[in-house]
């Protein structure tokens, strides 16, 4: 073991900056990153063990004890649960004889929970040894467990392949694209190389000006003007870097999955154009661990582009050098925050940085860096091909272009839709065949829970901004239990903890909503939650913390009646249940647990 781990560390040039890759490799080969492994890695990198441990323990796909020969990660996010993950989990637990969080005695199967894996349009879904299994039910679970007992490799358990590149020999996944509507920009017909050729025929300033003219704004959700970001970065001195955020962790979003599958070339082209604009030689695609199944395919697209001289040295004979590497994540929602993503790419805990300095000033390796979303880079290729003015004419006055929506939940046609900004929620619901809608969760848990009275509002950065996640919640759902509680559990787990307010308030708020869901809440609890959400919003550092109380604050605002119906209208109620507390001892001594009989 020792020699092999030292060998892995040497593969990455004994560079602490590649600690993520080292840990991923060790986890894959040994089924865990044990204390022994940490000691070996720390010595080989000349780091302290706690510094290796701080990275190892941050990401939930790294484990300290060996996972099963088949590590089954069940998605327990909202839509998966709505679509029947409860049954799927029950079947896995029954057949394996262990609960989630445990491993069978023979070491064959371990069951785990994981947050949204980007398959909301084909839930319930799970990852088994990194292979994606979608649209699960009890019958399929029985077949999978039988295969495991027969010793079949996880990849060989996949019998049907999805459409498009999902069936590519390097991908061979059952994931479906579910592209329901192609628009004029990212999902329109694409021919590789036109964008790069045109960009390289312009000067860097011209490329930036074209992107500025298009009014393209960041597609990850924050909506920062892309051209301005590139401009700021290009004006800084020294080496520059291009990072692409393919961490797509916001529950309910999966549109980048489709772009990575069907428009990988376009994405890499966009990163190259960005690199040319700011003067970078290196790009990094930060790919979420859940999308490991795409890695080999994406590497093949990169090699193909190198062979066509769209990447590498002296691209298209224009004297511009640029190449891209893929950095895998290891399971942490907060890494979708750009500065946390940079930290993670450097092999550290994914903790957001303080600003200033901004990433455009000091980013990856403390050098000027642009971090953009997959869809943003793809859009930039079209802007170069067709011109900023063409792009700016699409959409609304403040939100130019098109937007990919990932629509899931209680609707007939879940999938990816490329729409022009400005569509109303009502129109969107008709488009996806949704009826009897109680609410739409716009922009994921960190967004807004929208009631029917506001369905006339428009999907646009000036009204309802979104990174693309749209979850339709039917009238038959228990909004507080199925949605709000699930989201708060998610945030409590995913807070990086480096801001004490984010860590603690999310736990406090999760406990409060749990109390209400369990029927012990009183009116004051609702008012307290609203007030505490506000303190959290005002005192945390990054976007995660500032928006993590939104599931509570937006439902209290828009669905107050749901809370009122659930809480008791009394001033005080003890959280302490005397009867339940003495139950066990009463059983032992054989008397009744009723105190006032």
């Amino acid at each position: 073991m020792k020699d092999r781990i030292i060998n892995i560390v040497e593969t990455y040039g004994k560079d602490p900056g590649r600690l993520m890759d080292i840990l991923l490799k060790v986890q894959a080969e040994f089924g865990c990153v044990s204390h022994e492994a940490i000691t070996i890695i720390a010595a080989a990198l000349h780091m302290s063990e706690v510094d290796v441990m701080q990275t190892r323990s941050f990401y939930h796909f790294f484990t300290c004890r060996p996972v099963g020969k088949y590590a089954v990660y069940l998605n327990n996010s909202v839509v998966s649960m709505l679509m029947g993950m409860g049954d799927v989990q029950d079947e896995f637990e029954k057949l394996s004889g262990v609960k989630v969080g445990e491993k069978t005695a023979d070491g064959l199967i371990s069951l785990h929970h994981t947050a949204c894996i980007g398959m909301n349009d084909q839930e319930p879904a799970a990852l088994i040894n990194g292979v994606v299994f979608t649209e699960l039910n009890r019958d399929k679970v029985r077949a999978l467990v039988a295969d495991m007992k027969a010793g079949k490799a996880a990849q060989d358990m996949v019998t049907t392949y999805g459409d498009g590149n999902n069936a590519n020999p390097l991908m061979k996944t059952m994931v479906k694209n579910n592209i329901r509507k192609a628009g004029a920009v990212v999902l329109a017909e694409y021919c590789m190389g036109k964008g790069i050729a045109k960009a390289l025929s312009m000067d860097a300033r011209g490329v930036i000006n074209e992107v500025k003219e298009s009014n393209l704004r960041g597609r990850g959700g924050a909506g920062f003007p892309t051209g301005m970001k590139w401009d700021f970065c290009s004006r800084e001195a020294g080496d520059h870097y291009v990072l692409c955020n393919a961490d797509e962790g916001e529950p309910g979003t999966f549109k980048d999955r489709v772009l990575l599958t069907e428009r990988a070339g376009m994405l890499f082209e966009g990163m190259t154009i960005g690199g040319y604009a700011i003067g970078a030689k290196e790009g990094v695609l930060y790919l979420r661990n859940e999308y490991t199944y795409m890695k080999a395919y994406l590497e093949s697209v990169l090699s193909d582009m190198r062979s066509k001289n769209f990447l590498g040295n002296n691209i298209l004979g224009k004297g511009f050098n640029f190449d891209i590497r893929i950095q895998m994540g290891a399971g942490a929602y907060v890494c979708g925050e750009e500065s946390a993503l940079i930290e993670s790419s450097e092999g550290k805990r994914g903790e957001p940085r303080n600003r200033p300095p901004f990433p455009v000033q000091k980013g990856y390796k403390n050098k000027p860096t642009i971090v953009n979303n997959v869809e943003t880079f793809c859009s930039s290729v079209r802007i170069i091909e067709n011109g900023g003015a063409w792009y700016g004419a699409l959409g609304t006055s403040e939100s130019a272009g098109t937007k990919l929506l990932s629509i899931s939940g209680d609707c007939k046609l879940p999938g990816v839709y490329e729409i022009e900004w400005g569509m109303s929620i009502k129109e969107m619901l008709e488009m996806v065949g949704a009826e009897n809608v109680q609410a739409v969760q716009v922009a994921g848990p960190s967004g807004i829970c929208l009631p029917p009275s506001q369905f006339d509002r428009k999907i646009a950065l000036e009204d309802l901004p979104t990174g693309g996640s749209m979850i339709v919640i039917g009238k038959n759902r228990d909004l507080l239990k199925d949605v709000v509680l699930n989201f708060m559990e998610f945030f409590a787990d995913e807070s990086c903890g480096s801001c004490v307010t984010c860590r603690s308030f999310n736990m406090i708020l999760r406990n409060s909503i749990e109390k209400i869901v369990s029927g012990h809440g009183i009116r004051k609890d609702v008012e307290d939650m609203a007030a505490w959400s506000e303190i959290l919003r005002k005192t945390t550092r990054c976007g995660l913390g500032q928006t993590s109380s939104n599931p509570i604050s937006t439902t209290i605002k828009n669905f107050r009646e749901v809370y009122d119906a659930r809480v008791k209208n009394v001033d005080y109620q003890s959280d302490f249940d005397m009867q339940a507390s003495v139950m066990a001892s009463c059983e032992v001594v054989g008397r009744s647990s009723k105190v006032h009989e």
């Binding site: 000349h46 780091m47 302290s48 063990e49 706690v50 510094d51 441990m53 701080q54 323990s57 941050f58 942490a332 907060v334 805990r349 303080n354 600003r355 200033p356 409590a492 787990d493 995913e494 807070s495 990086c496 903890g497 480096s498 801001c499 004490v500 307010t501 860590r503 603690s504 308030f505 999310n506 736990m507 406090i508 406990n511 307290d528 505490w532 303190i535 005002k538 005192t539 945390t540 550092r541 959280d575």
Partner: protein
């Protein structure tokens, strides 16, 4: 040469050098902004958030924000005082703090802020988190029940070769402060003392020298935290 900038805190005219962190610039002007994670001349962590101020209408952490010309800063409003009090209360409920039995009592910044903001009963329910203590190092105790995750020890205490002796472990609900057993065994008495001194609470304690300062002679026994900053500038 460094450039001088003018700004106001609650209407008071102040001066500082461009790029200086607001919390330090305020102190130089006799204005106390409470801190737990911040230490002058150390890379700011921005983790405790108790220094939250309002700058031109926006909530910002004073320990990570450089002063700029013309900034209008709100520091002592009712809203900010309530936020700070809430953070102190939150820290008291998330950890397990028993002041009367704590050796840092009277020297503890968290306790002192509790008095400053006149905390009576925390508004939040107690978490009663189980946190394990670590006494394996020859020189120090790590009493995790009292840790407030300020990262001072993480940032300051290193071995001779610059390697970390303290670091975080886990995230979210599983976060804890972790100590490197191998490197902690090499700590000198001076380094152990330094670790205890910079810890704003009673999480890091030097072994074998407990309760040296008698009650009544401790840092905050007779003066309110921050009063030295405010009085220096009368």
């Amino acid at each position: 040469m460094s450039e001088t900038v003018k700004f106001t805190i609650d209407g008071k005219e102040c001066q500082g050098t461009k790029g200086q962190l607001l919390v330090d610039a305020a102190a130089d002007n006799g204005v106390y902004i409470p801190v737990l994670c911040h230490m002058r001349d150390l890379i700011p962590a921005g983790s405790c958030r108790i220094c939250t101020v309002k700058i031109n209408g926006r909530n910002m952490a004073a320990c990570t924000t450089p002063v700029e010309e013309g900034m209008a800063i709100e520091n002592n409003s009712d809203e900010l005082t309530d936020i700070r009090k809430a953070i102190v209360e939150m820290l008291f409920v998330e950890g397990n703090h028993f002041c009367p039995a704590c050796e840092k009592s009277g020297n503890c910044d968290l306790q002192a802020l509790g008095y400053k903001y006149q905390m009576m009963v925390p508004r939040f329910p107690y978490a009663f988190e189980r946190r394990d203590m670590d006494a394996t190092s020859p020189k120090i105790f790590l009493e995790r029940n009292r840790c407030i995750f300020c990262k001072r020890c993480v940032r300051v205490i290193k071995d001779n070769e610059g390697r970390s002796i303290f670091a975080f472990k886990g995230r979210g609900t599983t976060l804890q402060i972790n100590i490197d057993k191998t490197l902690a065994a090499t700590m000198s008495d001076e380094l152990a003392q330094k670790a205890m001194d910079i810890c704003p609470v009673g999480c890091i304690l030097k072994k074998e020298v407990g309760f040296i300062d008698p009650i009544g002679q401790r840092k905050y026994d007779k003066k309110v935290i921050g009063s030295d900053i405010e009085n220096n500038h009368q």
